[in-house]
C-alpha cells in the first residue's frame, strides 16, 4: 500500500471472539470459573542454541553451512495503482498499489513482496442472500450501499471497497446504468479509500453498466470487474477512454487467461490489467485456483508478458463450501467454521501469489490482514518454546 491509512476503531479478532466465546460457553453450560486455566509459563530452553553462532559449536559437531537457494527471475510483476487522490485528478484520500514483485510469493530469502497484498470488502447495491454468520454483520446496512461501504472501511479495516452493481441484472431489478452511476457517486462520497466496480454478470447489461461506471469514475482510477472472454470490448474501450484498470477474469484456464490478456492489449497498457483466474472454495476446487495462481506468478517472473500481472481472488467464493455454513453441531460452531474457511482459502492463495482479496467476513478480513503483516518480513524469533513439556489445559 502506498499510504498509511488510519485503522483506529477496527474491530479486533479478540473482540469478535470474546463475544463468541461467551456464546459457545453458554451453550455448553460451562461456567467461566471452571475455565480458570492453569498454564505453566513457557520455558524457553532452546533460546541458547538459537543464539549460538555456528563458529562457537563444540568441536565434535561437524560444521556445515546453509546457502540460500536463490532463483533467477527475469521480469518483475507489473505494479498497479488503484485510486487517485485530489492531486492526481481523483477524490480519494489515498491510493493502493499492488504487484511489482521480483520473487515467488513470500520467498523472503529472495526478496520481500514489493507491495503487500490488500483486501477489498464486497459491497452490494441491493440486499442479497448470504450465509447467516456473514449476514449478521451486515443486516443493518443491506439497504444502503454507502453505509455498507463505511462499515467495511471504518469497522472491518478494508483497504478498498468493491461495489457490486448486481441490481442492474435484468433478473434482479434491471436498474439502469444511470441508477448505477448514482449509487457509485454515493459510495464515492461515503468513503475515502479507492473503490472498485463489479458488474452483475448479465451479458446484456454488463457492457453498458461498466462503461457508465468508467465514465462516472473519471480520474478515480477504479478497477472495472470484469472483462471476460464474452464481454471485453466495451469494458476495455471504456477503460482506455477514461483511464481505468480492468480485471481480466477467466475460468481456471491459464491459456484462456493469456488469450484474454492478448486481446486486452489492443486497448490497454500493462499498468491497466489485473488478472483473476477464478477462486474455488477450499474443498471444492481450491487446488485449481492455487496451482493456476502459482503458475501465473512464476510465469510472469520468468518472462511471460501475458501473465505478468497482479492477481485478484474472489475469496468470498469460499462460502460456496457447505462446510463453511451448514448448521450442524457435529461440525462445530459455524460462527468459527465459516470465517476460518474464508481465511484458509485466502491463506492458500496468499501463498500461491494473490495480491488482491475480495472478502466478506470481518474475522476473515482481520485474519488476512494479520497474516500479511506477519509474513511480509523475516522477524527475529526470540523464543521457540519447548512444546514437548508444555502443560496444556485438559479438554481444550
Amino acid at each position: 500500500m502506498t499510504s498509511d491509512k488510519e485503522k483506529s476503531g477496527i474491530t479486533s479478532l479478540d473482540d469478535m471472539f470474546g463475544d463468541f466465546a461467551e456464546l459457545v460457553l453458554e451453550n455448553v453450560t460451562i461456567e467461566l470459573d471452571e475455565l480458570k486455566l492453569s498454564l505453566r509459563p513457557a520455558v524457553q530452553q532452546m533460546a541458547r542454541s538459537v543464539t549460538q553462532a555456528a563458529l562457537a559449536l563444540p568441536k565434535s559437531l561437524i560444521s556445515s553451512s546453509f546457502t540460500k537457494p536463490l532463483g533467477e527471475y527475469t521480469q518483475a510483476i507489473q505494479e498497479i495503482t488503484l485510486g487517485a487522490t485530489k492531486g492526481q485528478g481523483g477524490t480519494r484520500g489515498n491510493t493502493v498499489t499492488i504487484g511489482g514483485h521480483t520473487a515467488p510469493a513470500w520467498d523472503l530469502f529472495q526478496a520481500p513482496p514489493k507491495n503487500p497484498p490488500i483486501i477489498a470488502a464486497d459491497v452490494f447495491d441491493m440486499p442479497i442472500s448470504l450465509a447467516k454468520v456473514v449476514k449478521t454483520h451486515y443486516k443493518e446496512v443491506m439497504d444502503d450501499p454507502a453505509e455498507w461501504a463505511k462499515l467495511v472501511v471504518d469497522k472491518f479495516g478494508a483497504d478498498v471497497v468493491t461495489l457490486h452493481l448486481i441490481s442492474t441484472d435484468r433478473q434482479l431489478g434491471d436498474t439502469s446504468p444511470n441508477d448505477a452511476a448514482k449509487t457509485i457517486e454515493e459510495v464515492l462520497q461515503a468513503v475515502k479509500v479507492p473503490i472498485l466496480i463489479g458488474s452483475a454478470g448479465d451479458p446484456v447489461k454488463d457492457g453498458p453498466v461498466l462503461a457508465k461506471a468508467a465514465e462516472v469514475c473519471e480520474g478515480e482510477r477504479t478497477l472495472l470487474c470484469s472483462a471476460t472472454m464474452d464481454i471485453y470490448e466495451p469494458v476495455a474501450e471504456a477503460a482506455k477512454k477514461h483511464d481505468q484498470v480492468v480485471l481480466s477474469w477467466t475460468s481456471i484456464d491459464i491459456n484462456q487467461q493469456k488469450e484474454l490478456n492478448r486481446r486486452l492489449f489492443e486497448w490497454l497498457k500493462p499498468e491497466q490489467i489485473v488478472i483473476d483466474p477464478t477462486t474455488a472454495a477450499l474443498g471444492y476446487g481450491l487446488e485449481y485456483a492455487f496451482t493456476i495462481m502459482q503458475r501465473m506468478r512464476l510465469g510472469g517472473l520468468l518472462g511471460d508478458e501475458e501473465l505478468r500481472f497482479p492477481i485478484s481472488s474472489g475469496t468470498t467464493n469460499a462460502w460456496a463450501a457447505r462446510e463453511a455454513w451448514l448448521k450442524n453441531p457435529a461440525l462445530g460452531p459455524r460462527e468459527l467454521r465459516g470465517p476460518i474457511w474464508e481465511s484458509v482459502t485466502a491463506l492458500a492463495l496468499l501463498l500461491a501469489g494473490g495480491d488482491l482479496f475480495m472478502m466478506m467476513h470481518p474475522a476473515a478480513i482481520k485474519t488476512v490482514h494479520d497474516l500479511v503483516d506477519w509474513m511480509k518480513e523475516v522477524r527475529k524469533v526470540d523464543d521457540y518454546p519447548d512444546w514437548t513439556s508444555l502443560s496444556i489445559p485438559e479438554g481444550v
Binding site: A21, I252, E323, D383, W387
Partner: protein, 471 residues
C-alpha cells in the same frame, strides 16, 4: 529442478528378464511406470533376492532416490510414510505422501483420560467426496519430565493403539526410556538438538529409529546437526527448523521454503529429508482465562501455512471438527494429482431403479461438483435421473456467471440424452445456484423447471418430500 530419471535410464539397471513378477508386462513397462512414479522399486523382487543383481540394485536405488528421502514411522497397516517428495510445485508432477497429522497426548494423563484422548484422535473422521478423511498418528509428549512415567505411557499407548507414534521430549533420558519401551513400534524420536545430539543420536542408532533434528531459527545450525547425525549413522532423519506463529510466521514459512527449495532445486542432499512442523507450539502463548478458540484459530493458520509450505508432518493439539476440517481439506486438495481430469463425462446418469416417474435433475460436468452431487444422492438413497451438462468443467455458480451454463445448453442436453422418452413427465429440477436461468430454460426447452436446493446436501430431502412434483 533436480532431474527425475527417465525410463531409458532406469531400464538398463533392471534384470531385463521380463519375468512379470512386478505385475507389468515386461521390464520396459515397469521402467516407464517407475519414471512416472506410479510403482515402487520394491515390486521388482528379483532385484532384491538374486545376488547377481546386487550391483544393479545399488545403482538403481541411488538413481531413483527422491530428492526428499522417504521416512517411515510405525509398523503395519497404519505406518506413516512421509517425504519422498519429487517436486517443489505440484504442477511439476504431483505431491506424494500427504502431510501426516500427529495429534498430541501428554504422558501424565490418568489412564482414563489418556485412553479417551487416544480414542478422540483415532475416531476423528469426515466423509469428503467418497473418502473418509482421518488424522494419522499420535505424538506422545513428555510433560511429566519423568522417564519412568514417559516409558509407561509409551507402553500403554502402544498397547491401546496401532497408530504410529512420535516420542516427544528434549530430554535424552526421556527418549532413552521411551525408545527402550516401544522400539519395536518404530516410533519417531523428537528430537536431537545441538545440545543433545550425542546422546539422542546414539539412542536412534542403537534402536535403529527415525530421528528429528531440531535446530530452531538457524539453518546453519540445522545443517550442522544433520551433518553430525548422519556421520553418527542415523539414516532416517526428519528436519525441524522451528515453528513460530503470528509475527514469527514469515520467518517460519521462509525457513521451510528454503529447506525444500534447497533439497529439490539445488539438489542439496544434506537437506533432502522430510520436514516437521509443530503448530502445537501456539499453545505456549495461551493465557489463563483467554478463550481457547483464539489459540485454536492461530494453530489452524500456522498449520495451513505449513501444509502449503512443505511440511511432511504436523504436530497439532486441537482435535475439533472446525479446526481439522479446513486442514484435512487443504491437504486433500493440494495432494490431489494435478493431472486428474477437471471434468467428468457429460450425459445421463441414473441412481437407483429409475422408471418413468423418476425425477430428472441436472448438474455440471466439473468433477468436484459432480462427485459432490453424486455422493449426496447416494447417501440420501434417492432414485433419480441426473443429466450432466458440459460446462467446460465449471461449477454451477461459475458456469452461470461465465455463461457456460445457459438455457440453450440445458435444452440441448435434454434433447441429446433423450430423457423425454424415458419419463412420463416434463419436469426438470435445476440446481438452486442456476435459479436465474430457470425462466429462460422453460422457454428454451418446453419443460417445467423447478428450482431445487442451493446445496446438493438438500437433494435427498427435496426429492423425498416430493417438492419437485408440486404444482
Amino acid at each position: 529442478m533436480a532431474k527425475l530419471p527417465g525410463p531409458l535410464e532406469i531400464y538398463p539397471l533392471l534384470p531385463g528378464t521380463n519375468c512379470k513378477e512386478c505385475g507389468e508386462a515386461n521390464c520396459m513397462a515397469f521402467a516407464t511406470k517407475m519414471a512416472e512414479h506410479t510403482v515402487k522399486l520394491e515390486a521388482c523382487t528379483p532385484l532384491y533376492e538374486d545376488p547377481k543383481y546386487a550391483k544393479k540394485l545399488v545403482k538403481i536405488e541411488e538413481l531413483v532416490t527422491p530428492p526428499v528421502r522417504e521416512v517411515t514411522i510405525g509398523v503395519g497397516e497404519f505406518a506413516a510414510s512421509i517425504g519422498a517428495k519429487l517436486v517443489l510445485y505440484r504442477h511439476d508432477l504431483r505431491y506424494t505422501n500427504p502431510t501426516s497429522f500427529f495429534l498430541d497426548v501428554p504422558d501424565n494423563l490418568d489412564s482414563e483420560a489418556f485412553a479417551k484422548r487416544v480414542k478422540e484422535i483415532e475416531d476423528w473422521t469426515y466423509m469428503y467426496i467418497g473418502t473418509n478423511l482421518r488424522l494419522d498418528g499420535i505424538a506422545l509428549r513428555g510433560v511429566s519430565q519423568d522417564p519412568q512415567t514417559f516409558a509407561k505411557a509409551a507402553k500403554n499407548l502402544a498397547g491401546i493403539s496401532n497408530w504410529p507414534i512420535i516420542l516427544c521430549s528434549l530430554q535424552p533420558e526421556m527418549l532413552a526410556a521411551g525408545a527402550k519401551a516401544i522400539a519395536d513400534k518404530r516410533p519417531l524420536l523428537y528430537a536431537a538438538t545441538l545440545d543433545t545430539w550425542a546422546e539422542v543420536g546414539e539412542i536412534a542408532v542403537r534402536h535403529n529409529l527415525p530421528l528429528v533434528a531440531y535446530a530452531p531459527g538457524n539453518l546453519d545450525n540445522l545443517a550442522t546437526l544433520t551433518n553430525t547425525l548422519r556421520a553418527m549413522g542415523v539414516e532416517q532423519l526428519v528436519l525441524d527448523p522451528g515453528t513460530a506463529s503470528k509475527s514469527g510466521l514469515g520467518s517460519t514459512v521462509n525457513n521451510f521454503t528454503q529447506l525444500r527449495r534447497s533439497a529439490i532445486i539445488k539438489e542439496n542432499e544434506l537437506l533432502g529429508y522430510p520436514l516437521l512442523a509443530a503448530p502445537i507450539a501456539v499453545w505456549a502463548d495461551h493465557r489463563e482465562g483467554e478463550a481457547p478458540e483464539l489459540t485454536k484459530w492461530d494453530e489452524v493458520l500456522t498449520a495451513a501455512s505449513l501444509i502449503v509450505r512443505y511440511s511432511d508432518i504436523l504436530i497439532l493439539h486441537s482435535a475439533d471438527m472446525w479446526t481439522n476440517l479446513p486442514l484435512t481439506f487443504l491437504r486433500s486438495n493440494l495432494y490431489t494429482d494435478p493431472v486428474k481430469p477437471v471434468a467428468v463425462e457429460a450425459g445421463l446418469q441414473t441412481f437407483g431403479d429409475v422408471d418413468a416417474d423418476s425425477p430428472v435433475l441436472y448438474t455440471t460436468n466439473f468433477a468436484l461438483t459432480y462427485f459432490t452431487v453424486e455422493s449426496d444422492i447416494k447417501q440420501a438413497g434417492v432414485t433419480t435421473y441426473l443429466i450432466v451438462i458440459d460446462t467446460e468443467a465449471m461449477s454451477v455458480q461459475t458456469a452461470v456467471a461465465g455463461r457456460k451454463l445457459t438455457a440453450e445448453k440445458v435444452a440441448e442436453s435434454l434433447e441429446e440424452t433423450g430423457i423425454a422418452d424415458k419419463v412420463n413427465h416434463r419436469i426438470l429440477v435445476s440446481p438452486g445456484m442456476a435459479a436465474r436461468i430457470s425462466g429462460e430454460t422453460e422457454e428454451a426447452s418446453n419443460w417445467t423447471v423447478k428450482v431445487g436446493p442451493k446445496d446438493s446436501s438438500g437433494i435427498g430431502k427435496y426429492l423425498q418430500e416430493g417438492k419437485w412434483k408440486e404444482e
